[in-house]
């Protein structure tokens, strides 16, 4: 990695960010009087703030580093994660599902499951969700610490203070833990949402100039086209009819059904991490607008996070250069710039991958160096940004890790306090007690994240790990919500058995299949290998499809054998028994439905342009 020349300006910008983040927490502290203020932001935030927080909550390590990495690895096809894998689901949750979440007065997604189904379904969901949030937050923390270490952000500070460089990893973990803990402890969900919005603007402020300079360097869009490893890099739909003819290794059915439907709806429509931001608004109309408002910037985020990956791969690979010039006294001066081996063996600005233990470059089976795609965006920052704006770019990156953690921690403290503690450990205590519990749950969540961060190793692509976890836990979940909200016959037993079967199906499917060129174990095939997938991603998508289908079928079958809840108890929870949201007072162009149609047209247009 390039020698990082950070100066006081860079640290000043970073420090300024930390001061503001904690300052917002302190400023909000006085408003945290009840548990509703702390866990639900008092249900009083404006729609635009929640909308931006809705996408920022998901803009953690997974997005910024992972999407840049995938952009460098797969090209524009990565935008499917946005245009297919997010926008339709965001529109669906806004238009069809938010009335039930917001209108039911549930304080969390698991609580909605208790209202609609029963106690055990809620407990199951609350427990798996709590584990998942801690896991995600720990991964963010780990990724951030590793990145700080790789980029030598604090090296100079440590050397000046006479501390060993080996402590930087621990220092980074501790720093992020203290800051995130500080602002959530003080300001609860409001603090987390405010900081997510802050981070949203920071990412734009830090990455937009990067894209502009990067584009100028390769000679604009046409220049980028000329520098791509293969022409399919700039097309999202080319070769999608068959898994072997496109970089993702997925065919169109797996993509549309696995990513576009099961995984994306499972995430955007049921994950309390994002839903909590929409539920923090003041009215039901605004809660429905939140995901739709979020969809607008979401649609254009590929240009901010995927494009840098492409620009990194398209740039000239650094090599040793000697420049000869004559200095003022007339003497001939030779200046040699030596680049490190990892840079020279990389492609474009994506460095080669090194083994963390031996420090040697990792080679694939054919002897070619593997690329460390996760460093695509960080390398871009270091390569193009002079000191000053480099501080801003790095701050944006740190902010995205921290806000990803924060969203998970607030989701965790809410689910822990309302759905586990209040329901099973201590019922009927005072509101003050639960407010205090929420604060302590925040401390617990952070400590568990730290433990996870130290345990986090394994896959070389962060996103694959997260996708795997989501496909086990979230993929079957959407079938439960879909049936719960749109089929009044669905029963609690059906939902519970369906959910367990779905997750089991995911685990079994993972155990029976393996991506080609992968070893059995973490990548699958640990029961027996009965099927090979062309890629990791195809396997993940199909795991999700199996989980969803199993849950869907099992829930229906079990429900048909049981007695459904009386209809009077399902008002406000099931579509056919809930009065339509009253929109008569709004002119047609201000209704959420109109915005939804505009969004659909926009996303189709983007797909056509980049087909």
């Amino acid at each position: 990695m390039t020698h990082t020349n950070l100066t006081f300006v860079d640290w000043l910008i970073m420090l300024l960010y930390f001061v503001f983040v904690l300052g917002i927490g302190f400023a909000l502290k006085r408003y945290m009087k009840t548990s509703k203020d702390f866990f639900q932001a008092g249900r009083a935030l404006p729609a635009w703030i929640c909308g931006l927080a809705f996408i920022s909550a998901n803009l953690g390590a997974q997005e910024v580093i992972g999407m840049g990495a995938s952009g460098a690895k797969y090209g524009i096809a990565t935008s499917h994660f946005y245009w297919i894998g997010a926008i339709p689901a965001m529109i669906f949750v806004g238009i069809f599902m938010m009335p039930f979440y917001y209108g039911s007065k549930a304080r969390s997604v698991p609580e909605f499951l208790r209202l609609r189904f029963d106690e055990k379904t809620r407990a199951l969901n609350a427990c798996s969700f709590a584990v998942m949030t801690v896991f995600s937050s720990g991964i963010s923390m780990y990724a951030m610490a590793r990145l700080i270490q790789t980029l030598h952000v604090f090296d100079y500070l440590f050397i000046s203070a006479g501390l060993p460089l080996g402590y930087i990893f621990h220092f980074s973990i501790l720093l992020s833990a203290i800051i995130v803990l500080g602002y959530i402890f003080l300001g609860g969900l409001t603090s987390a949402i405010y900081n997510e919005v802050l981070q949203f603007f920071l990412i734009i402020a830090g990455f937009l100039p990067l894209v502009l300079i990067g584009l100028k360097n390769v000679g604009g869009w046409s220049g980028l086209k000329a520098h791509m490893p293969n022409p399919a890099y700039l097309h999202s739909w080319q070769g999608m009819t068959h898994a072997n003819t496109n970089p993702l290794g997925v065919e169109v059915f797996g993509l549309a059904m696995g990513l576009g439907f099961v995984l994306s709806f499972g995430y955007w429509c049921t994950d309390f991490l994002v839903i909590q931001t929409a539920m923090a608004t003041d009215t039901q109309e605004n809660a429905r607008r939140v995901p739709l408002i979020a969809a607008i910037p979401k649609m254009f985020f590929p240009f901010l996070v995927i494009l840098p990956g492409l620009l990194a791969i398209g740039a000239v690979t650094p090599h040793n250069t000697t420049t000869v010039h004559t200095d003022a006294s007339g003497a001939i001066v030779r200046e040699t710039t030596v680049v490190s081996e990892v840079e020279a063996k990389g492609q474009g600005l994506v460095p080669a991958k090194t083994d963390p233990i031996s420090g040697k470059i990792v080679l694939d089976a054919s002897g070619k160096p593997l690329l460390d795609y996760d460093l695509a965006i960080p390398s871009m920052l270091l390569h193009y940004f002079p000191t000053g704006i480099l501080g801003l770019g790095l701050t944006a990156l740190l902010a995205s890790f921290m806000s990803g953690m924060a969203g998970n921690v607030t989701a965790f403290n809410t689910v822990w306090t309302y759905d586990l503690y209040q329901s099973y450990i201590k019922k009927g205590a005072s509101d003050k007690h639960y407010l205090a519990m929420g604060r302590w749950a925040t401390v617990g969540g952070i400590l568990l994240s730290m433990a996870t961060a130290y345990a986090a190793t394994g896959f070389n692509n962060i996103m694959d790990t997260l996708q795997l976890v989501f496909s086990f836990v979230n993929a079957p979940l959407f079938a439960t919500f879909l049936l719960g909200m749109f089929w009044k016959r669905a029963t609690g037993n059906g939902a519970f058995i369906g959910l367990i079967s779905g997750t089991l199906a995911a685990v079994v499917h993972h155990g029976l299949t393996l991506p080609i060129e992968a070893h059995t174990g973490m990548h699958g095939g640990w029961i027996a290998v009965v099927h090979h997938y062309p890629s990791d991603m195809a396997q993940n998508f199909w795991t999700a499809i199996w989980a969803f289908s199993t849950n869907f079928v099992v829930t229906i079958v079990v429900s048909l054998f049981g007695t459904p809840k009386p209809e009077s108890e399902l008002v406000g929870l099931v579509h056919s028994l809930t009065p339509k949201p009253e929109l008569g007072h709004l002119p047609w162009w201000r209704r959420p439905e109109t915005l939804a149609v505009v969004l659909l047209v926009m996303v189709v247009t983007l797909n056509v342009i980049f087909r």
Binding site: V9, L12, I13, L16, Y17, F20, G23, I24, A27, L28, R30, Y31, A41, G42, A44, L45, I49, T190, Y194, V197, L198, F201, A205, P209, I213, K216, N217, H383, Y384, F385, P386, T387, G388, I389, L392
Partner: protein, 84 residues
């Protein structure tokens, strides 16, 4: 909620913009801009952020004034208004 986010956020971007602009002015023509292909990224982007930040700050102040029913007391420059 009584704290309008645009106020602290606007303030932060104004300060970042100010730092970058000043640093960009001081380092005009410096070798550090070889990296960014001769563009003084600090100065150019600093000005953009300065404008963005101060606009957001002013919008937030205006919004906060609307919310506060009582006529707001004058606030010293650079201080975060936190409602009541």
């Amino acid at each position: 909620m009584n704290l309008d986010l645009r106020i602290p956020m606007g303030l932060m971007f104004t300060l970042v913009g100010l730092i970058l602009t000043v640093y960009g002015l001081v380092t005009r023509g410096s070798d550090i801009y070889l990296k960014s292909m001769g563009i003084n990224a600090n100065l150019d982007w600093g000005i953009v952020l300065l404008i963005f930040g101060s606009m957001m700050f002013l919008l937030g102040r205006a919004g906060q004034k609307k919310v506060d029913s009582a006529p707001p007391k004058p606030v010293a420059e650079g201080e975060i208004r936190r409602g009541h």
